[in-house]
Amino acid sequence: MTKFLRYILFTLTILCAGFHFTEVLAQVSFVAQAPKTVTTGLPFKVKFVLSNAEGTDFSCPAFNGFEKLVGPSESHFSSYQYINGKSSKSSNTTYTFVLQADKKGTFNIPVASIRVNGKTLRTKPLSINVQEGNGKASTGNQPQEDDEDYYVKPQNAGSAITQRDLYFTVDATKHRVYEQEPIMLTYNVHAKVGVALANVMLKQKPDLKGFWTQEIELPRNLSPNTERQNNGLYRVATNLKYIVFPQQTGKITIPGISFECDVLQRDTKMDAIDAFFNGGGNINVKVLRKSPDLNIEVLPLPTPRPANFSGGVGNFKIKSQLITPIPRTNDVATLRLTVSGKGNMKLIKAPEMPFPKDFEHFEPKTTDNTKVNADGISGEMYFDYTFVPRNIGQYTLKPQDFVFFNPETGRYVTLSVPAIPLDIKKGTRSAHEGNYDAKSREMEISPYRHVASSTHSNGTFSGGMLWIGSISNVLLYIFIIVAGLFVLTFANKRASLRADIAGWRTSQAQKNAMKALRTIEKKITEGKEDNNFYGQLSNILRNYFTDKLRLNAATLTSQSLLDALEQKEIPNDILQQLKTLLETCDYARFAPDAEKSKKQAHLHSASDIITRIDTKL
């Protein structure tokens, strides 16, 4: 049903386009086209072009003196023009051959014939002058002016793809190598022109036993070369490249690798219109191919091997460098040996370094700075020797000779590293520190810690004060807040008291008076009292009352004091006691009384009065 619809669609399009114009038919012609001169060994094209007609029975001429590589391949071209109501139509059918000349001279391209509407058309014969090529062409440079697509043009469906049409080869740079000498394996795909190879996939990773293998990255979209092989034109592309280092000796077979190839073929059963809607009418054919096995003879390295052979096979250079400019005692210093060159770099053993006895030293650290490329592995390997000198002095380090095998000459090469002078200066660190540092640097982890406490300070169960949300923690916060507020209010009260001086003095009156009384009492008990005891006592009392009652000291008399106290409702007995005391003081000033016990009694009486009055006020 859909097919039918498509037909209608297609026909309608054609009809609509062609209804309203008169067609002008162009002239029918059949010509041969070929270059006038060619060179031997280079492919060239010969075309037979039929214009403005449909032809049948194309007869292919025999090409004498040339080798036919490809052909005939047929291509159609047609165009319609519609200008000012007049249309013109032109169409071409081209039969192309790819030929190659083998000999010098002048050759003829014979006549080709074709039948058009019952008539037979012939081409004019052509002559081609063949010149001597410059030799290099025989390996097949790509024909320059050619457009690629007719090489890729798919063959018809069902045509067999033989081992000669599509095959794989493996190339090794060498077939006889020494152990550890790199070999480059190149896997190429060869597809005969006409086999439209769309995709190649590796079926299985190669199983390279006895080799150390490194794959080489190939650039994407590697354009194939065109080569002439087995009397045909082939497109050759590199699929895989490996660099392998044999690890075993003897005859080793590298098994072939399986590839899965996708080949496009044209489905001729499909008609043109169907093909147009179905993506060109090509079908995909899967072809399995295997590359041939490869035999390699691996020679053992010549014996006897030198005692300190490093395992290196290739060509190397070595140099030494002291990385720490001034090595100091008990400090970590590093010496670097750099091996540079080409070969099995990754398998080189670090040369031994005989350190003096009083040097602490560690296993050398290897840093790989090599690259894998088409020539093998090249670059630099760094061997860092870490050591800790213990004593000051002059030393020389003589690294072990570096011995490697050069497969090109087939001999062992010994390179000696010049002795390295070391001038060890005094360092600032203790022996223990330096040692620890070097060890930790070597292992590259942070060092052991001394365990101060084997338990965690506040476990979950104990719920310590610093464990947020625990009872003791909440209590701690509450305590701090309460204590803080308390301190703050207290301080605030004090500050405001201090701000008001009279109030401050009132509040301090008792404290000061008591203090003064105690001083006097102390003097009496020690027997050092002066004569003016009663004067002092009376002064203390007066000061106390002027401060406490905010009275004027200059106008204060005993009577005015007693009156003021009476107004403050001080009990009579206290007033009486105070009056007696003040009078005693006044008398005693003029008639000194030296009795110690009496003085003490007066003092007690004074402090008693002050205490009692203070509570009342």
Partner: protein, 269 residues
């Protein structure tokens, strides 16, 4: 004023420690490169402390991790570093060594794609543990009172202004520290990290043996157990830093925080 002084002194005092000669012996064994002996001693110390309900210090676990690391037992090393970090989140040595141990096993930190300030906040919170943040909050509380005193007591205007500013800052600081301390407490109590201990463990899309595989975890991989106990014998897990989630059977891993009746796994190895 005297009370506060006494309090601060109290905090500065080192807390009582339980002396254990095995700790001393372990250090000696470690420095003489007998890592196996050191590991055995330290794990004994940790076990005995746990049995009496004490939490071993982060240093014990860290050193135990180092002892395992030196024996190339990177899974056990990672586990012990995780335990040390649980107790002391800002333990940079443990963090560094954990990364190295993970690198040795070919496992690398997955870059998390969180916003930078969330990462930054996470890092800040993890600088200190519960005690650290609580101490800071108390410090801010005291500072707040000091500033309040400067503000309240009659002083010059400029001084009072400064006092008020410091008081406000201290209040915010205290709130921030209390929040962080609470976060760290939650982390400590709800640590659901675990580490794969068998060579390979399959993680499935749903808790049934026939379901599709999400990912295969290798030994040493750290993951988080999600709080989903809907299925018996299955645990719901996620891998930190990624959005990978899945189910796995209840074996082939060790939890950072063991379940209440302690299963002895580390000591038998």
């Amino acid at each position: 004023m005297r009370h506060i002084l006494i309090l601060t002194l109290l905090f500065l005092c080192p807390f009582l420690s339980i002396a254990d000669e095995r700790v001393q012996k372990a250090e000696e064994a470690y420095s003489s490169m007998q890592y196996n002996a050191a590991a055995t001693l330290l794990s004994q110390v940790a076990d005995s402390l746990q049995q009496i309900g004490e939490t071993p210090s982060a240093d014990i676990y860290y050193n135990l991790g180092n002892a395992h690391y030196r024996q190339q037992q990177y899974t056990e090393a990672s586990l012990n570093y995780l335990r040390a970090l649980r107790i002391r989140p800002g333990f940079t040595h443990a963090h560094d060594n954990l990364q190295k141990a993970q690198l040795h096993m070919g496992l690398q930190d997955i870059e998390s794609d969180e916003m930078f300030f969330i990462q930054w906040f996470r890092m800040l919170v993890n600088t200190y543990g519960v005690e650290g943040w609580t101490t800071f909050s108390i410090f801010f509380l005291l500072l707040g009172f000091l500033a309040l005193a400067v503000y309240v007591l009659p002083q010059r205007i400029a001084l009072r202004k400064a006092g008020f500013t410091v008081f406000v800052i201290a209040l915010f600081g205290m709130a921030f520290c209390i929040v962080n301390a609470s976060i760290q407490r939650y982390r400590y109590n709800h640590n659901m990290q675990a580490i794969i201990s068998s060579p390979e463990v399959k993680v499935l899309t749903s808790p049934s043996p026939n379901s599709k595989e999400v990912i295969t975890l290798r030994e040493g991989q750290i993951f988080t157990i999600l709080n989903d106990e809907s299925e018996k014998n299955w645990i719901h897990i996620s891998i930190p830093g990624t959005e990978t989630e899945g189910w796995m059977t209840e074996k082939g891993f060790i939890k950072v925080v063991e379940d209440a009746p302690a299963q002895k796994e580390g000591t038998t190895k």
